[in-house]
C-alpha cells in the first residue's frame, strides 16, 4: 500500500499553491500541519484526484488517482462541505453510498454501524438542517468511511467537535490507521499529536519537514524554556526570542519561548511538544522575527 506524490506542483495564475512536493505515504496515520494558505487543502484535493496538478504525478499502488479504482478505495472529508438540507442522515448516507457504488442492501448495514459509531443513531431520521455543527461534522466523517476506504483523507475533521467527540474520533482514526493510509490536516495540533505517528509540515506550498513525531520534535528538543518574569523583563525577552506562549500569573508573566541557550537565569528547560514546533514555525510573531 503506497501513495506516491512525485514532484507535484499546483499553480493558480501567478500563485504557486503547492511547490514541487514529493512524498510517499504508506500504512499509518499522517498529520498534515501548516498555517492557512500553506497549500494543505490543495495538496489533499490533488491526492483525492479531484484537482489536477500543474505538473508532477500522484499514484496509488501504480494506479493514477484519477481512476475509478482509486476512488473505490478513497474516503474523503473536505474542509468546507455542505449537505442537502432536506435529507435525513440515513438518506444522505444512502445517497453517498449510491455514488460510491455500494449496493443498497449492503449500504443499509454499513450505515447502521457507522451511525452508531458516530453517535447519530438516535437522530438518524431527522433532517440534516436541524443538526448542530458537530453533528454535521460527524455525519461527514461517517460518509468518508462508508466504502471501508484504504486511503482516508480528512481535511480539518475535528473542527466543530466537542472534547468528548474528539476523543472518540481520535480512537476511531487510530483504529483505522492500522491497516490503511490516513492523512488528516487540522489546526488542532493536539489531535495530530495524539493520533498521528507521522507528521508532515508544509509552509508556503513546500514540504519543510516530514517524519516520525519523535524525530520532528528533535528539531526543537533542548530549546523550549519556561520562565516567570516581570512585565519589563517579559517585554525585553519578547524582542529577543520567538515566544510560544505568554500568560499573566500572580507573580509576573509566564513565558514559553524557544532559545538555543538559557534565556533567563530563572528559566526551566521543558519537554518540547508538537504545538511548540507548530507555533515556532507558524506564529506571525516568530515569522516577523525571522524576517528581521
Amino acid at each position: 500500500m503506497e501513495l506516491v506524490i512525485d514532484r507535484v506542483t499546483k499553480q493558480f495564475g501567478n500563485k504557486i499553491a503547492v511547490d514541487n512536493l514529493s512524498i510517499t505515504l504508506t500504512q499509518g496515520v499522517y498529520g498534515l500541519l501548516g498555517a492557512n494558505g500553506a497549500g494543505k487543502t490543495t495538496l489533499m484535493r490533488m491526492m483525492c484526484g479531484i484537482m489536477t496538478p500543474t505538473s508532477g504525478m500522484i499514484q496509488y499502488n501504480g494506479i493514477d488517482v484519477k481512476s475509478e479504482d482509486y476512488r473505490d478505495d478513497l474516503g474523503y472529508l473536505p474542509q468546507d462541505f455542505g449537505y442537502y438540507p432536506d435529507f435525513t442522515a440515513i438518506e444522505f448516507l444512502l445517497y453517498m453510498s449510491s455514488l460510491k457504488g455500494i449496493p443498497t442492501m449492503r449500504a443499509k448495514d454499513k450505515i447502521a454501524e457507522l451511525l452508531d459509531n458516530v453517535n447519530l443513531k438516535s437522530v438518524a431520521k431527522k433532517k440534516i438542517k436541524t443538526y448542530s455543527g458537530g453533528m454535521k461534522q460527524r455525519l461527514g466523517i461517517a460518509q468518508a468511511l462508508l466504502n471501508n476506504p484504504k486511503i482516508l483523507i480528512l481535511d480539518e475533521p475535528t473542527g466543530g467537535l466537542d472534547p468528548k467527540e474528539r476523543v472518540k474520533f481520535r480512537n476511531i482514526i487510530s483504529e483505522l490507521g492500522k491497516d490503511r493510509v490516513v492523512l488528516l490536516s487540522t489546526h488542532i495540533v493536539s489531535d495530530v499529536e495524539y493520533i498521528a505517528g507521522n507528521i508532515i509540515v508544509m509552509k508556503e506550498g513546500r514540504l519543510i519537514h516530514q517524519g516520525a513525531r519523535t524525530e520532528i520534535l528533535k528539531l526543537i528538543e533542548g530549546k523550549v524554556w519556561e520562565c516567570v518574569v516581570s512585565q519589563a523583563e517579559a517585554d525585553k525577552l519578547m524582542k529577543q526570542y520567538p515566544i510560544i506562549n505568554m500568560r499573566n500569573e500572580k507573580n509576573g508573566v509566564l513565558l514559553r519561548l524557544i532559545s538555543s541557550n538559557i534565556p533567563d537565569k530563572k528559566a526551566l528547560l521543558m519537554d518540547a511538544s508538537l504545538e511548540d514546533l507548530y507555533l515556532y514555525y507558524f506564529s506571525d510573531q516568530v515569522i516577523e522575527k525571522e524576517g528581521k
Binding site: I50, Y76, D80, Y83, S98
Partner: protein, 250 residues
C-alpha cells in the same frame, strides 16, 4: 434418524451448549469484498434522489398548459394559443436547472467528485432523467393539443420543444459561466425572460407560427438540440475546471 428425532436432537444440543456470542462480526463483514453497483443500478438509484417536488411541479405545469389550451378561446388566432401555452415551457427548464444546481447550491460538489461515480457521471444521469421526463411532458402536451393546430403532432411538438431547448441552452451557458449559488437566480431570470418574450409574441408576432415557417422551426429545433448536446458534454467534461474556477485557493 427421522425428522422428529432430528428436531429433538437439535433441541437437546441447544439445551446442553450455550451458543457463543458473535465476535468481531462487523470487522469480518467489512473485509468481505462485494460487487460494486453497475452504471445502470446507479442510474436507477439516482431516480429516488431527485426531489419529489421536481416531479410534482412538472406535472402541475403540464396540467396548467393543458387547462389553458382547453378552456381558453383561442379559435380566432389558432397559433396564439400554442404560443401562450409554450410560455410555460421555460419554467420546466427552470425546475430541471434548480435540481441540477443543487450540488453547487449546497456545496456538495467536492464530496461528489471524490466518489466512484463522480460528479460528471452524476450530472449526466440527472440530466438524462430530467430530460426524459421533460420530453414526456412536452410530447404528452403536444398529443393533447395537436387537434388545435394545423399540422398536428409534429408542428405542435416543435412549437413546444423550441422554447424548451432555447432555455436549456441558455441555462447551460449560464451554469458554465456563472459562479456558485447565484447561478440559480440567473437561470430563473433567463427562463422568465423567454416566457415573457413568448407572451409578447403571442400578441404581436403570430405570423412567425404560420405554416410557411415550419421548416425553419424544424431547422432551429435540430440546431438547438445539437447545441444542447455539445454544451452538456462540454459541461460534464469540464466539471473539475468549472468547480475550482469559483473557489478560493488554500
Amino acid at each position: 434418524m427421522n425428522f422428529k428425532e432430528k428436531k429433538q436432537l437439535i433441541s437437546e444440543i441447544k439445551k446442553a451448549y450455550v451458543q457463543p456470542k458473535t465476535r468481531q462480526k462487523e470487522a469480518f463483514l467489512s473485509k468481505l469484498s462485494y460487487p460494486k453497483s453497475t452504471f445502470s443500478q446507479f442510474a436507477f438509484d439516482q431516480l429516488a434522489f431527485i426531489r419529489r417536488r421536481t416531479w410534482l411541479i412538472s406535472i402541475a405545469l403540464f396540467v396548467t398548459m393543458e387547462l389553458l389550451m382547453r378552456y381558453n378561446n383561442f379559435t380566432e388566432i389558432q397559433s396564439a394559443g400554442i404560443i401562450t401555452v409554450s410560455a410555460f415551457v421555460p419554467m420546466l427548464t427552470l425546475v430541471s436547472a434548480i435540481e441540477l444546481l443543487r450540488s453547487k447550491r449546497y456545496g456538495m460538489g467536492e464530496m461528489e467528485m471524490s466518489t466512484r461515480f463522480s460528479l460528471g457521471t452524476l450530472m449526466l444521469v440527472k440530466m438524462s432523467w430530467l430530460g426524459i421526463s421533460n420530453l414526456v411532458v412536452l410530447m404528452t402536451s403536444a398529443l393533447f393539443m395537436m387537434d388545435k393546430i394545423e399540422g398536428g403532432f409534429v408542428r405542435t411538438g416543435i412549437y413546444l420543444i423550441v422554447p424548451y431547448l432555447f432555455t436549456c441552452n441558455l441555462s447551460l451557458w449560464l451554469i458554465k459561466k456563472t459562479k456558485e449559488k447565484e447561478c440559480v437566480y440567473y437561470c430563473a431570470t433567463a427562463s422568465g425572460t423567454v416566457s415573457l418574450i413568448l407572451l409578447v409574441l403571442s400578441k404581436n408576432a403570430v405570423w412567425l407560427y404560420e405554416s410557411r415557417f415550419t421548416l425553419a422551426w424544424a431547422f432551429i429545433c435540430i440546431l438547438l438540440f445539437i447545441l444542447m448536446l455539445v454544451e452538456s458534454i462540454r459541461i460534464i467534461r469540464n466539471m473539475e475546471e468549472n468547480k475550482w474556477n469559483s473557489l478560493s485557493i488554500e
